[in-house]
Amino acid sequence: DIDDVGHKYHLELVLEDVLDKDSTVNCTAEVLYHLGNKNIAPDVQFTIEGELKNTDEADNIFYNRIKSLEKELVAENIPDSHGNVSPEMEPIHLLAWVASGYVIWQNSTENTKFQLAQIKHVKQVKRSDEYLEFDYMILLHEMVSQEIIPWQMTVLWHPQHGVQVTQDSRQPKHA
């Protein structure tokens, strides 16, 4: 408890590579939730002890595959109702997961727990520069309220420059 400021948490955690369960790295973090104001994202500081795996090869394969598509990529319902994700869509799924992490961070309080539930729709946006751009419509599942919240996000990615969410907005729920 920090008077007039908020609540600070000190965390010790282990990061596990989703694609390789045996690959783990220790991490420490400090998270400060601001008092009162629900519109400010929590402050996060972190230190990773060790190195994350190099993913250049897979990144470049994905990057070149998308760059060489004749028509812009379009897809929906990833995973589908049965939990299937086709191998070609797996990087699109992972990219959404990372990008949704940013959206989740920006919208988290001590009383929320968000997960990416599904990509409803994704559309590649053609760019003249070297970046890849994807317009996603995702569903976020909020654990405490159990709500499914549609969210639009525009995601930029480049193998050397990483992920950026340039635009995001919460969407109205269906009835």
Partner: protein, 370 residues
């Protein structure tokens, strides 16, 4: 290049062979030259294959024919699950029967399978899956549990001893209206499909509709909310049916309500942080059950009371059953922890059901002995 579909056996027996187009003329000439009679069974195999493919993509899957050929590693429709139940009963009439305990809002039958080796109103275990319709791994696991009981009721000593003294009641599709809706309209639907108070929004959270601090914190009075508790306790026929069943039976010793996801084993209370009187015992059972579950595939579960482990929730199922005197009241949250969430890949159905069954046996064995 000849593809024999009925291989040569001996003189006087027919042979069936698929002939690639280029070999057709040479083969005919060869047969005729040797006085071997033949007839054409299928003019164009490719055309048949193409036709079958379009048929399979177009028409709905055939209903299952036996519980031995049923595919437990895939998600099924309501019709397929209801057919499965009837097959199971038909194949094992001395062990299983099907009870209709009520009807849903949209008038679908609510079925419970009763596993019993006899006796009259024996002490019983209740298990329900699918109360929240989007939690598909739960209904799928319920189907697997039903078959497992049949397969193991004699050869598994623990299960056999449980059934010697107790009956098992299993409600696989506790919320059929919601389940159908997840298949036809919205995969993420959680609640029932009732309409109340003239709101545009549909459905009540069946796990907030029970008479245990109904309407308290941890449930919503907004009909559009996913945790809407409904206009009054037991307003939902799906809930009322279970309440009536439990009260009429009067001898239920263990009650387990199964959800997904989060990988948790929970006991009451959800509506208050006051511990239940039996907290220590329930905690110990949970510890044992979780250890048994993890032993199979290393799946990690946390356990504790609802309010300390997940969140405050009022009007919940096992808070009510506990207050009715059913000491061994538990809720599971099955796989996973968010990577796929509700959209758990079908290939995880059987491993999930297998590990969960080990935990269920711990609970049932404890209920049998206490």
């Amino acid at each position: 290049q000849l593809d024999f579909w009925l291989a040569p056996r001996g003189a006087g027996y027919p042979v069936d062979v698929r002939v690639p187009f280029p070999s057709l003329q040479p083969l005919k000439a060869h047969l005729e030259a040797n006085g071997i009679s033949y007839s054409i069974m299928i003019e164009d195999v490719q055309a048949l294959v193409d036709h079958e493919r379009t048929e399979m993509l177009r028409s709905p899957r055939q209903l299952p024919l036996s519980t031995n050929t049923f595919d437990y590693a895939t998600y099924h429709s309501l019709d397929e699950i209801y057919t499965f139940m009837d097959l199971l009963v038909a194949e094992n009439p001395n062990l299983v029967s099907k009870l209709e305990i009520g009807r849903s809002t949209e008038n679908r039958p609510l079925y419970v399978l009763k596993f019993s080796k006899g006796g009259m109103n024996r002490p019983a275990v209740w298990i329900d899956t699918g109360i929240h319709s989007r939690e598909w791994v739960t209904q799928a696991s319920g189907v697997w549990f039903a078959k497992k009981i049949i397969l193991d009721h004699e050869k598994d000593k623990g299960l056999a001893s449980i059934l010697d003294k107790m009956d098992i009641f299993l409600e696989i599709v506790t919320n059929p209206d919601g389940f159908v809706f997840t298949q036809t309209e919205n995969r993420m639907w959680r609640k029932t499909r009732s309409r109340h108070s003239g709101s545009v929004c549909v459905g009540v959270d069946p796990n907030r509709n029970w008479d245990a601090n109904f309407g308290g914190p941890g449930a919503s009075r907004n009909p559009c909310s996913e945790t809407y508790h409904g206009p009054y306790a037991n307003s939902e026929p799906e809930v009322k049916a279970i309440v009536d069943f439990v009260k009429n039976h009067g001898n239920i010793k263990a009650f387990v309500s199964i959800h997904s996801y989060s990988q948790l084993l929970l006991y009451p209370y959800g509506y208050t942080s006051t511990p239940v009187p039996d907290q220590k015992e329930l905690h110990q059972i949970s510890e044992k059950a979780v250890a048994a579950l993890s032993s199979l595939y290393g799946t990690n579960y946390k356990y504790g009371s609802i309010i300390t482990t997940i969140y405050q929730a009022s009007g919940g199922t096992i808070d009510w059953t506990y207050n009715q005197g059913i000491k061994y009241s538990f809720t599971f949250e099955l796989r996973d922890t968010g990577r796929y969430g509700f959209l758990l890949p079908a290939k995880q159905i059987v491993p999930t059901a297998q590990e969960t069954w080990l935990a269920l046996k711990v609970i049932m064995l404890h209920a049998r002995d206490h």
